[in-house]
């Protein structure tokens, strides 16, 4: 309802529509961003959960602080990653497990293991890390900056002529 209203209002002006679409895509992008730039992967193998972490540069997170909590926020397991950036623990409870990694100097990542994954551990295997699409992101980013720059210049110009 709100969105349709937004689009209706924005429809009056193509530039406004562009902005609305841009903001909407940003908002969706925000929802899709599941991992932060410290990457954390966790998978179930038998009754053990393995956690693996690394920075975007590929460096392992050595002695990062790991904390595992249930959906209510009770801390179940605490530990630190080893030199390979790995940490393993026995499943403490058959519920969703939220794993949080603090890698120091403001870096944080989290990963949730669903209860269903724990109940069917046979299928458990290491998840494939997402494909790196940095080049696309660079092009999109520079495109956005270009459009924004043009927009600011356009608005200023109109103000000047008025």
């Amino acid at each position: 309802m709100l969105i349709s209203r937004c689009i209706l209002i924005a429809g009056m002006n193509t530039i406004r529509l562009n902005i609305a679409v841009f903001l909407l895509s940003l908002f969706l992008g925000l929802d899709l961003a599941e991992a932060h730039r410290v990457n954390l992967f966790a998978w179930v193998e038998g009754d053990i959960v393995h956690v693996e972490s690394k920075f975007s540069s590929g460096k392992k997170v050595k002695s990062g602080k790991i904390s595992v909590a249930d959906p209510k926020g009770n801390e179940l397991v605490k530990g630190t990653t080893n030199d390979q950036g790995e940490f393993s623990f026995k499943i403490p409870k058959k519920s969703d497990l939220k794993i949080v990694l603090l890698a120091g100097t403001g870096h944080r990542a989290e990963w949730t293991i669903a209860a269903s994954e724990i109940k069917a551990p046979a299928a458990g295997k290491k998840p494939d890390p997402k494909k790196d699409n940095t080049i696309n992101a660079i092009i999109i980013g520079i495109g956005c900056i270009f459009i924004l720059t043009a927009l600011v210049a356009y608005i200023r110009k109109r103000k000047q002529t008025n």
């Binding site: 932060h36 730039r37 100097t105 900056i145 200023r156």
Partner: protein, 207 residues
């Protein structure tokens, strides 16, 4: 140098956001029409620079180039860095969305400070301009590292330890940024001196 989501406490995020908003407002006001294109290009540069990792040293450090942005744009560094950080957060998941204000402040404030201190020397002779630019690139990263330590002190409670780690990790970056900034300034001085702050027609007729 980007702070992730969920690390900082609410008051730190809010005050960082408020200060960054103020800086951005000043920056937009001070941004002349003639400099908009330049601001866009520098925003793109800053946006991409963070992808260049410096493989020297112990930690996960990348180029920042806030010194260069500050030196060439002054207060406009705030909106320029904010835009680049928004896109980095969206596209590369560098830093949290809620931490945008704090991250902007950490990187843009040192840039503006270095601009205020160093820009008067840029139109002097080449050696002085060169070393000034180096100092600007070097110090803005250093101050950003201190700012990061300061922002984290409220959650990790050990300012000196954190700041030491961050500063040490960024020493290679500081040196490289100093050199990059110096080369850019030397190049601009030769090719397009009007892009540097403090330029006047008198200088141009003299050269």
């Amino acid at each position: 140098m980007h702070i992730s989501e969920g690390v900082l406490s609410g008051p730190v995020l809010l005050s960082g956001g408020a200060l960054a908003a103020a800086g951005t407002a000043i920056g937009l006001k001070k941004l002349d029409y003639d400099r908009i294109a330049q601001a866009g290009i520098l925003s793109a540069t800053f946006f991409v620079a963070a992808l260049i990792h410096v493989p020297i040293g112990p930690a996960n450090a990348h180029l920042i180039l806030n010194g260069l942005v500050g030196l060439l744009l002054g207060w406009a560094a705030f909106p320029v860095i904010l835009v680049a950080l928004v896109l980095q957060a969206m596209l590369f998941q560098f830093g949290g969305i809620t931490a945008l204000g704090v991250n902007t402040l950490i990187m843009a404030l040192p840039a503006v400070l270095c601009y205020l201190v160093f820009s008067p020397f840029l139109q002097k002779n080449t050696t002085l301009a060169f070393s000034t630019a180096f100092a600007c690139g070097f110090l803005s990263v250093f101050l950003s590292a201190l700012g990061l330590g300061l922002a984290l002190v409220f959650t990790e409670k050990n300012f000196f330890e954190i700041s030491t780690i961050v500063v040490l990790a960024h020493i290679p970056v500081m040196i490289i940024e100093g050199i990059v900034t110096a080369i850019c300034v030397a190049f601009l001085k030769k090719v397009q001196p009007a892009m540097l702050p403090g330029f006047s027609r008198r200088d141009q007729s003299r050269t």
